[in-house]
Symmetry: C2
Subunit: 234 residues, 2 copies
DNA sequence: ACCTATTGTCTCATAATGAGACAATAATAA
DNA sequence: TTATTATTGTCTCATTATGAGACAATAGGT
């Protein structure tokens, strides 16, 4: 099925995903770079005529990252007229050799149902789509300009993530199965954008009784080895 | 512009609104009853081809309640295949004398961008739309069956409202400009679905320094008169 | 055996909350 | 006028949570 195949998709409806990863103490997201234009955008796609909206978002993530069973949460639907800029999509498609009539469905107005995902950075296998040169990680603190309203989408995703972080205890989804308390703290610090007090953080996390303690991790560093933890199942 | 006028609206995209009001100690929402069928549904509508998504929701509310400048928040977009039940819309329209071809846009699949609103119960002037016999208040604790997935939409709206209640301090939007501490507490109790401790609630609210104290309210009851409060502007 | 950086746990001060006591008071009844 | 009643506003005290730091334990290196 090619990207231009029209029968398969609902017109006017797209999805975009803000995929968060964590590496080297930094919170990052995935961005695609389109051919020639150099324009950057969130990974996204269209919804099949017979496909659940959520399934479309999952499928899109699977295609770009190779991952199944991801933490995925819908957070907002963007539908302002200001995001209707047919010349943007036209330029992207032209750079790929497609020259569409101005009444083609892909040049119509779209609303974007937006999701954010939390994934284990190490597990991802990045795969660009047909319109892109590359898909790569970018630090959230230092994002370049993105097409359309995608910078605003990222801001809202990050805001939602912050608001839900404690209540839903989802921070661990950015780490591998087992992690140290320090790694978990770094995730929280990267998301909140501020340093946290080590002892208070540790006491709080242990007090919630959601962590399971495992063996120690000997890193070769000359100091006490930290325990590994995982989130308690069910 | 009639409801069947097709050029004006985006296909496949609808909005629905969960309009919360508070009266006699109960949290209530607005429901429409369709002609003949007796089916109940959330007030909603379609998005103009040149209309912001949020503007469409505001317009819909204005039409049903007569109110402008409402607290309105988008909370989720429902897009499962399970909500695609063309026979439901067909029956509703048939009851109004419209017999559409099965490929008519109103019988297509729709995703619903859903909003919740908080309004002053006393200010509303209810106005049914062309397809409805009535629009009326129903207690949230004792909702009847609604069409499609509208019961699920209400549940999610209430959940979002609960989660945001303290963080955003939006409870006051359900009351008139001036209110007693007891009235405010009743709003919180109705939303959370549980009794709160009077003294703790009062201390907390006053401690937030968002309330302005006005004159006392003499109700004629034989006990100490409570102060009236309003939310501090800016 | 000593040094260093980091970890896990403890203590103490401060802030927030739960639970109730109690005086003030607006209307009514005696 | 005085007593009664229901409710309100404010206090107090116990309990719990959080901020800030002290300190011993320890994995390696010197």
């Amino acid at each position: 099925m090619t990207v231009l195949e029209t029968q398969g998709f609902l017109p006017h409806i797209a999805f975009d995903s803000v995929v968060f990863g964590f590496s080297k103490g930094k919170l990052k997201i995935l961005l695609m770079e389109y051919h020639d234009t150099g324009w950057l955008a969130l990974p996204g796609g269209f919804v099949g005529k017979n496909e659940d909206l959520d399934e479309a978002a999952k499928r899109g993530l699977k295609e770009r990252t190779g991952l199944d069973n991801i933490y995925l949460e819908q957070f907002y639907t963007f539908g302002n007229m200001a995001r209707f800029r047919p010349e943007v999509m036209q330029t992207i498609l032209a750079a790929n050799g497609f020259h569409l009539d101005s009444d083609h469905w892909m040049l119509d107005r779209f609303i974007s149902v937006s999701y954010f995902a939390l994934i284990d950075f190490e597990k991802v296998i990045l795969t660009p789509d047909e319109l892109s040169d590359s898909i790569a990680w970018y630090e959230i603190e230092n994002l370049p300009n993105l097409i359309l309203d995608h910078n605003a989408i990222v801001r809202k995703a990050l805001q939602t993530l912050k608001e839900n972080l404690e209540r839903k205890l989802i921070g661990g989804n950015l780490l591998p199965e087992r992690f140290t308390m320090n790694e978990l703290q770094q995730v929280y610090e990267a998301i909140f954008g501020q340093k946290l007090r080590r002892t208070t953080f540790q006491r709080k996390m242990l007090g919630l009784e959601i962590l399971e303690r495992h063996e120690k991790l000997y890193t070769g560093k000359s100091h006490k080895a930290p325990y590994l933890y995982s989130f308690r199942k069910v």
